[in-house]
């Protein structure tokens, strides 16, 4: 399921697509192939493509289930973002990509979208007619070294961190070894340390090892191993490319904490990438662990983007929904919450029920004739609000007294309308 066959020009003979700004291992074709090979492509992979002139946009996706697509990423990914070849009108190429995707997808989920790109992604989705909900969901910590050498950066770190490194290094208990190519024994030590560490179980050791080996073949692999009396106690896996260091994994065994081997190892790797590899920035990836602030000076949100295709979101088939035209398109937000939740909120608004009374409604709760507030004006208001909030049209011939007899009847009616039957 690779490619959608609509843009045959985007084949291997073209230069690889790149993300905006600096390169990342998570933009690479090899990374997406690796994810697919290790079972992270869900029900199938789909490379969404778009074109504007000689500029092409690419966004690798997986099919979560029929109609629901998501960025081809997993917890190792630092980002999912559109990739491009050509320097022309990238926003138009991206909008074209999302417009083409509307023909096959009802819903699209993207996470983690970098802060710098969420606006462009959301606006391209909107201009292609998707209904978009974007919110910050995760954290990215990174180190901006612009203008700083190693010592300048180190001086800017918290005093407690600097004094830990100074004191523990002086003791000479911890031996540090750095690798710039994959080493099977060192990797085995990493896996053993990880298993004994405070971290949860490794998500997919085979994928991570294959990733590390591939990076080693490109010359971007960096690894550090800390030993106490010959026994491995801390390990870290980094990569370096395009003036950026990426910190992928770190682990240390718990009973070694007093000697702080993890902290010493980090300090050694930072020194190496800054002084030897000459990086300008260090990316700590996703997650908001407190220790990251000690090393980093930048903090940004990572965005979760959820997009709905108004022509298909109702699950009722394209025609039935689109036939209502612009009126229906404006109403698409409704599908995000269960009808039951929406209906309770609606009754609470109209009848002035508090949250508790609204939540306490059961299928048998009487409405018209039982709640004094439920007069003919309230009935009319309920119908119009149901249309607006649930994205349905109600023909007044469908209304009979029974619908308003109980909450259960009203809910059943609303759910039937939302399903489009």
């Amino acid at each position: 399921m690779q490619g959608n066959g609509e843009h045959p020009a985007n084949d291997a003979k073209h230069p690889p697509a790149r993300g905006a700004g600096f390169a990342s291992p998570f933009d690479r074709e090899e990374w997406f192939d690796l994810l697919a090979a290790h079972g992270f492509a869900g029900a199938g992979r789909h490379d969404a493509r778009g074109t504007a002139g000689d500029t092409h946009a690419l966004l690798p996706l997986r099919i979560e289930r029929p109609g629901h697509y998501a960025g081809l990423a997993n917890w190792y990914s630092f980002a999912i973002r559109p990739l491009y070849t050509g320097d022309g009108d990238r926003p138009a190429a991206l909008a074209d990509l999302f417009a083409a995707l509307r023909r096959r997808a009802a819903r699209l989920t993207l996470y983690p979208v970098p802060d710098a790109e969420q606006m462009a992604v959301a606006s391209a989705l909107r201009s292609a007619g998707w209904w978009v909900k974007a919110g910050p969901k995760g954290d990215r910590h990174w180190l901006d070294l612009s203008g700083l050498d190693h010592d300048g950066w180190w001086e800017s770190r918290p005093g407690a961190l600097r004094s830990t490194v100074r004191r523990k290094a002086k003791k000479g208990v911890v031996d540090i070894e750095l690798f710039t190519a994959f080493d099977a024994d060192a990797w085995a030590a990493y896996e053993a340390i990880y298993a004994a560490s405070w971290k949860p179980e490794e998500g997919d050791p085979a994928l991570l090892r294959a990733f590390a080996e591939a990076e080693s073949a490109r010359g971007t692999f960096r690894m550090g191993l800390a030993r106490i009396e010959g026994a491995p106690v801390a390990a870290q896996y980094w990569t370096v490319e395009d003036s950026t260091a990426f910190i992928h994994k770190l682990a240390h065994v718990e009973d070694s904490l007093k000697a702080s081997p993890g902290t010493l190892l980090s300090a050694a790797l930072f020194r190496h990438v800054i002084e030897v590899d000459r990086v300008c920035r260090v990316d700590f990836g996703t997650g908001n662990d407190a220790y990251k602030r000690d090393w980093m000076n930048r903090h940004e949100p990572l965005w979760h983007i959820e997009a709905f295709n108004p022509a298909r979101s109702m699950g009722a088939g394209t025609q039935g929904f689109c036939a209502f035209g612009p009126r229906a398109r404006m109403r698409i937000r409704i599908v995000t919450e269960p009808v039951d939740t929406q209906l309770r909120a609606l009754l609470a608004d109209i009848l002035g029920l508090g949250e508790e009374r609204a939540a306490a409604l059961t299928a048998d709760s009487g409405l018209f004739g039982e709640l004094p507030e439920f007069d003919s004006m309230a009935v009319a208001t309920v119908l119009t609000e149901m249309e607006d909030r649930l994205g349905i049209l109600i023909d007044d011939d469908e209304i009979d007294g029974e619908i308003f007899e109980t909450y259960g009847h009203l809910l059943a009616f609303a759910e039937r309308k939302v399903r489009g039957s």
Binding site: I350, L351, G352, E373, M377, D388, D397
Partner: protein, 224 residues
Amino acid sequence: MDGHRLRIDPAGTPRATVLFVPPLFEEANRTRRTLVLAMRALAAGGFAALLPDLPGQNESLTPLAEVDLARWSEALAAVAERIDGPLIVASLRGGCLIDHHARAALHWRLAPVGGASLLRTLLRARISADREAGKPSSLESLQAEARAAPLLLAGNPLSPAMIAQLGAAEVQPVAPLRSLTLGSGDGALPGTPLWLRAEPGEDAAMAQAMAADIAEWSRACGIT
């Protein structure tokens, strides 16, 4: 213009006048109390606040059956014309359908709604009441009736012109405009949709939020 209006003045010279255009028909009654609370909060912040009765509304001597949206829009523009100093027109719901002829330094809108949606609700209420009374009506029969003579909808006798204009009325562009929905986040005001309430309610926190938002918007636009 019949000249009835509720006006709340601040102590001293007002920074600006806020002219409120309430929701239409039944929705106006449900929100009036909260609007007046917002007016008091604005007056405390140095604004004059004005809530006019347009022809056919509240204490006006003109019968409702003689007016339509166009006349309301003109009457509101006439009220605006006679106000000295900077003017902010603050409209809610169906009020946003008649505020575009008023010349104002700033426009502020909360939960604007199309006329067709308002009309549909009014017609439905009538159908529902007719059913209860045992003399069934339909959208078609009521609309046919409304072409010839005023139609009584939720207690309001509405002229054929009013019903025709309402069915077609959309919110018109104005500038500079701050338009808000109810809810949370950017471009939203926290509060309850009192205009939907079966029984008139009150939301003091929402009144405060409205006043604060209007005051901030006017400050941001250079009216101090």
